[in-house]
Symmetry: C2
Amino acid sequence: MYVRATAKMVADRAGVSPTTVSRVLNGKVEAISEMTADRVREAAEALDYRPNSLAVSLRKGSTATIGLIIPDIADAYFHQIARAVEDAARPEGFAVILCNTDREPERELFYLDTLREQQVAGVVFAGGGVNDDEHLRGRDWAGANVVLIGPHNLELPSIGVDNRAASIAAVHHLSEQGCTRIACIGGQPKWAIHQVRLEGLRQGLADIGEELDPELLWLGDFGLESGYDSVDAAMENGREFDGIVAFNDNAALGAIKALRKHGRSIPGDVAVIGFDDLPIATVVEPQLSSISFPRREFGETAARLIIQMARHEDVEAPGLFPFELKARASSLVAGVPA
Amino acid sequence: MYVRATAKMVADRAGVSPTTVSRVLNGKVEAISEMTADRVREAAEALDYRPNSLAVSLRKGSTATIGLIIPDIADAYFHQIARAVEDAARPEGFAVILCNTDREPERELFYLDTLREQQVAGVVFAGGGVNDDEHLRGRDWAGANVVLIGPHNLELPSIGVDNRAASIAAVHHLSEQGCTRIACIGGQPKWAIHQVRLEGLRQGLADIGEELDPELLWLGDFGLESGYDSVDAAMENGREFDGIVAFNDNAALGAIKALRKHGRSIPGDVAVIGFDDLPIATVVEPQLSSISFPRREFGETAARLIIQMARHEDVEAPGLFPFELKARASSLVAGVPA
DNA sequence: TTGTATGCGTTATCAA
DNA sequence: TTGATAACGCATACAA
């Protein structure tokens, strides 16, 4: 049976007190004789001593752990954020706890509680904004060190982009390509992300003298099947449209699949643009136009903020990140410029 | 400032000792008067008391946490496993710590150490099998509760599939489709996953009276670009082949992209089959044939094994999972059956 | 320059 | 049926 070495064992071996061991290994006090320090380090080495992080955390009142709450790690949008969070946390000695909520409010609450029990240094909360965040309002967030990624209706530090402007840009782009009957594949009305993008969409349409035909607003769950079903149903019902703004790439991909099934050419008959700019966007045929967000920076920044908070350092203001419209074959009616 | 309630605070409020609080809330002893128990529960409720899991773990010597070590959460193959691990852990009260290694041996070691420091209940180690696992041999695994997913050269409980047979099946499939010059997009020679799949490939070729042309064995890093570059280079060099077995879907997708660039039709000129059966496989055009693994079961089973070990329960033998060859348009030369 | 004593919050042992 | 005490491993205030 494997037994971990403790500070006391190191102390005994080095012929000093556990206090001294702690001091040497943490470099707390400069006033330690080199000889003693060497003996301690030697003993620690020999015993392969590692401080029990549980004990350290209990003593210090906080762990070197970041909770990451996302809807679904299996969603390409979030795993890039997750990766970035972990990459930023690792060199700082922080671990990342993975929490998938499927956007279920109870699960969000469950994890918020669980993570607090675990005394995490902070929580990165991405992709929430569910149900107007009712379930999260009025919570006592004191000392919780939460950073949000994406639109929420909460008074907490958050990083994100101007989704409204992004949505407007998408509509203008399709308009420039000659689209006049623009459809929208959204999420759920209660999702903040849906609300703000829809608002932008309506504004964009207004800019070009159009408005959203209620029959061309299709709600879904941001899944590929959901996008497919929306378009499939619309075609079955004889809806007319020449452009689609999908509020995420998964839905856009599903839409393309359905359009193809119904013999529509893309972008000739229907131009399509999504949100997220997932890696697949450049793999599929035609390549998918999309609004791109700096997901890695989202994750890195969020992690960095948490760590700064945990260390009681001055915390930089997150601010708004830029988006980029990647025009590709799926929406370039005149063809892709060489 | 938010202050957590402690067992002592609950005890004071209920007019009992912390010991009693612990007993009531953990249901340890039946011999507790209902009245006392009620008072304790009431006080706990009122104070929103949650046991400090750090203290509990320190006392008990183990946390309710599972370490998940994978090459890259941004890889579609692993995030499904990750999701399954988390789904299996959550209802049992276990949290999951995410660790990305990029298959770097030092990082694998780093995380193994870190996780041990954190007293995790166990470690799910997926996608390793790097460098003949030299760096992991001779380690003291006692009490580490490790479960491996995928091929490794280590004497530890592992779950996986018969990759050799899967590879053979892939070759036989292409052969049935009329392919005679079969190329291979592999990983790195030191990866166990590469070794075993390559062995199967050679066997499959032998079965049909062929053998692997060294010029048709292309090594890479399982990335999309890597698959693209391999095929692109091969075409530039005038290599002749009518079938490709890619050891993962990412590489297969890259290969298809390169084939298309060079004007080759799929599967007419070149039939392609991959491994992993990623969700994208059915989204791209043509749909990608692939060897499918029950990734969710991998993750669920691994998590369950860890939890059983942590609870000192009898541990089921993991065993071998079945694979399935999904024949789709990218390899069905005669077209997809209706 | 180093050691002793104390406490972080919990649970297990023993005694009452 | 309940409580006092000790211990998990560490870091800190204080003493020497």
